[in-house]
């Protein structure tokens, strides 16, 4: 436990008892490796998200926690107990399925009561708990309906109630909001967040929607290609991505490939393949720590990615006097997004820089010569992808 506390300071102030632990978990399907040895510590009461593109192994990971898949190697533990060989119906977890998987032959009430009836729970207690669960998700008025008579959002609520009525140790959510339209999704996000706070349960959610993960989670594990790229709080993941993949996947970014020219205590000079000379501040978060970077020998030959978030890039008709990373280019695309305006600027070197500005100033015209510039500390140098 002390090991996890040091690995992640952000949770040291909250409960550090572990609900779910994954140790070097592998999963191989018909010769193809879906999950390549991942380690995860999920703390009690935490809203933890596993985020990644489709096929990255995130759903497989969740299914191994639920017990629908057995790991090919490694160990899954829930509340310190090894779950190897324990069937799903004996695990203290419940799942909200992507497709809801409600029982069409049962009413809403009977769907929610399903797990309690299996445990031969008393009649009075059953009525109370099912009633509570339905009230929690605001579906009390629909108890006598069948799932087919409900809208997608309502089915989602019933699926939540059905999973929560059993008081699981961990609630697993497999792309829970993926099938809902945007407005409903926002609404359910808020409610999920409320539910989590109200119940104090551990939530483990799988999603490919980075915005959803950022807005709901206490911590996020970003997965790619069967591996975990980074674990951290939403702001850590967004502000200090450790790999080019994370920087690219979470939010939009301008990713430039280049090589490190020189490293000083204060600045890092990088020349991109296209010939841009960029000054960046070495970050303590780069590859975990500053020290390890200084150790890497012959840094003038080492490759790196530069990531600059579009909202950190400034764009104007004239160059500021003090700006270091300032380049001239032509405005190629303008996208009006309502609250923001997105510009795409083609530099003379051929690089395309995306700029996101709040909708405050007037729109600039296409083809205008503009200057783009950003501060050295807004530029992240990242180790190349493996």
């Amino acid at each position: 436990m002390s090991q996890t506390a040091t690995r992640d300071q952000s949770v040291s102030k909250t409960d550090t008892r572990l609900d779910v632990e994954l140790r070097k978990v592998f999963k191989v399907y018909n010769g193809e490796t879906a999950v390549r040895g991942i380690d995860l510590d999920i703390h009690q009461g935490e809203f933890f998200s596993i985020l990644g593109p489709s096929g990255c192994g995130k759903t497989t990971t969740l299914r191994m926690i639920a017990g629908f898949e057995d790991p090919s190697g490694g160990e899954v533990m829930i509340r310190g107990k090894s779950m190897v060989g324990v069937p799903p119906y004996k695990r203290p977890v419940n799942t909200v399925f992507q497709s809801y998987a409600l029982f069409g032959h049962l009413t809403v009430w009977d769907n929610v009561a399903f797990s309690l009836r299996l445990k031969s729970c008393g009649n009075a207690e059953l009525r109370e708990r099912v009633g509570d669960a339905l009230r929690l998700v605001k579906m009390s008025d629909f108890a006598r309906r069948f799932p087919a008579q409900l809208s997608g959002g309502q089915q989602q609520r019933v699926a939540l109630a059905r999973a929560l009525v059993n008081h699981p140790t961990v609630l697993l959510l497999d792309e829970p909001l993926g099938a809902l339209d945007l407005k409903l999704r926002k609404e359910m996000q808020t409610e999920l967040s409320h539910l989590h706070r109200e119940l104090g349960l551990t939530f483990v959610m799988v999603t490919h929607d980075q915005e959803e993960a950022l807005s709901l989670s206490d911590r996020i594990a970003v997965m790619n290609n069967g591996k975990i790229e980074q674990i951290g709080t939403p702001s850590e993941i967004y502000e200090h991505p450790q790999t080019a993949f994370v920087a690219d996947f979470i939010g939009d970014t301008n990713l430039l490939k280049g090589r490190i020219e020189s490293i000083h205590a204060e600045t890092l000079q990088i020349v991109t393949d296209s010939g841009l000379r960029i000054l960046a501040k070495p970050k303590t978060h780069w590859n975990g720590s500053n020290a390890s970077e200084a150790e890497s020998p012959n840094s003038d030959a080492s490759e790196a990615f530069i990531s600059i978030r579009p909202e950190k890039v400034h764009c104007g008709l004239s160059a500021p006097a003090d700006s270091i990373n300032c380049y001239e280019g032509k405005l190629k695309h303008v996208m009006y997004l309502g609250t923001h305006i997105s510009y795409q600027v083609d530099l003379e070197t051929g690089d395309r820089i995306t700029v996101l500005q709040p909708n405050r100033s007037s729109l600039m015209d296409l083809g205008t010569s503009v200057y783009v510039y950003w501060a050295a500390e807004d530029c992240l140098a990242l180790a190349p992808q493996e």
């Binding site: 639920a66 017990g67 004996k90 399925f97 032959h105 399903f114 087919a148």
Partner: protein
């Protein structure tokens, strides 16, 4: 596209010169014209013979060549004589037994093919099950005779295993075996169609909620596939109720069924067309009621899922 000649108008674009009335008329006549072939077929080969049999069922019955009464419902009253009632009861028993056997044998097979077998094997396994249907039912019945007869392959096998020989041919067991064999593929096909549609995630959901595999089966799989179970059961029940070949060839004298009785009244020694027709009407009515029930309740069930 621009080169298409204006002389080939489609239905959507009627010739501007065509009068509106004519267009209305074709729209009225079209469905009638299309329905005529099947309508004539049904009238000539289904409705007319059924009416003919209905009429025949009221003619005076015969016993030992002598008329037993006048034109009327005498033949229907005859049905209730114990000897005939026994035949009806036996037919129903055979059909129920065959349906239950097919269900017990067919469900695990269909479940295995639809849920557990690797998807790429499914079609092959289904074809293997349906293959017997491509041979004549008569041929299959004769095949069972060679297996079940006193010196047949079954008894050779039993002898080799030092087990007592069985005299099943021309007895009730042969009828059950032959009928279950004939209708098992239908049962498997219908149950497969139902199980294949079963959402496998529901099984995972049940397991996730704490149901053991057994509980999942009874509380999710069976209720979810109930329409298929009802359809398969009723189809096998109806067809085995009217089965003629198997009881005739494998059943011997002790296995008189309604269909054999009807055959005897028309083409056998007794030649009592009136009685045969009343039995036929009884069967048609019974089967129609069963199908009506299936349509009504089968539909309601599928609407729920």
């Amino acid at each position: 596209m621009s080169t298409s000649t204006p002389s080939s108008p489609t239905l959507a674009e009627p010739l501007p010169t065509a009068p509106r009335g004519w267009h209305k008329l074709t729209r009225l006549i079209e469905p009638i014209v299309l329905l005529v072939p099947s309508g004539v077929w049904l009238l000539l080969l289904l409705v007319a013979p059924t009416l003919l049999i209905l009429e025949l069922s009221f003619i005076p019955g015969f016993r030992l060549g002598q008329p037993t009464g006048g034109y009327g419902i005498g033949n229907y009253l005859e049905i209730f004589r114990p000897i005939y009632f026994q035949v009806i009861w036996r037919s129903v028993l055979f059909a129920v037994g065959c349906t239950v056997t097919c269900m017990l044998l067919g469900f695990p097979v269909a479940y295995w093919i639809a849920v557990m077998a690797p998807p790429r094997w499914r079609n092959l396994l289904l074809v293997a099950f349906v293959l017997p249907l491509w041979t004549s039912s008569l041929l299959r019945a004769y095949a069972w005779i060679t297996i079940l007869r006193p010196s047949g392959s079954l008894n050779s096998l039993l002898s080799a295993l030092h087990l007592p020989n069985q005299e099943w041919l021309n007895q009730t067991p042969a009828v059950y075996i032959g009928m279950a064999y004939s209708f098992l593929p239908y049962m498997v096909l219908i149950l497969y169609a139902s199980l294949e549609k079963l959402d496998k995630r529901l099984l995972e959901a049940a397991s996730d909620l704490g149901a053991t595999p057994q509980q999942t089966f009874w509380k999710v799989t069976v209720p979810q596939t109930l329409p298929g179970i009802a359809a398969g059961g009723l189809l096998v029940f109806i067809t085995s109720l009217g089965e003629f070949v198997v009881p005739e060839l494998l059943g011997g004298a002790s296995s008189m069924t309604v269909s054999r009785l009807i055959y005897n009244q028309f083409l056998g020694a007794t030649r009592n067309w009136g009685l045969g027709s009343s039995f036929s009407i009884l069967m048609i009515t019974g089967v129609s009621i069963a199908i009506a029930l299936l349509l009504k309740y089968g539909d309601r069930d599928s609407a729920l899922t």
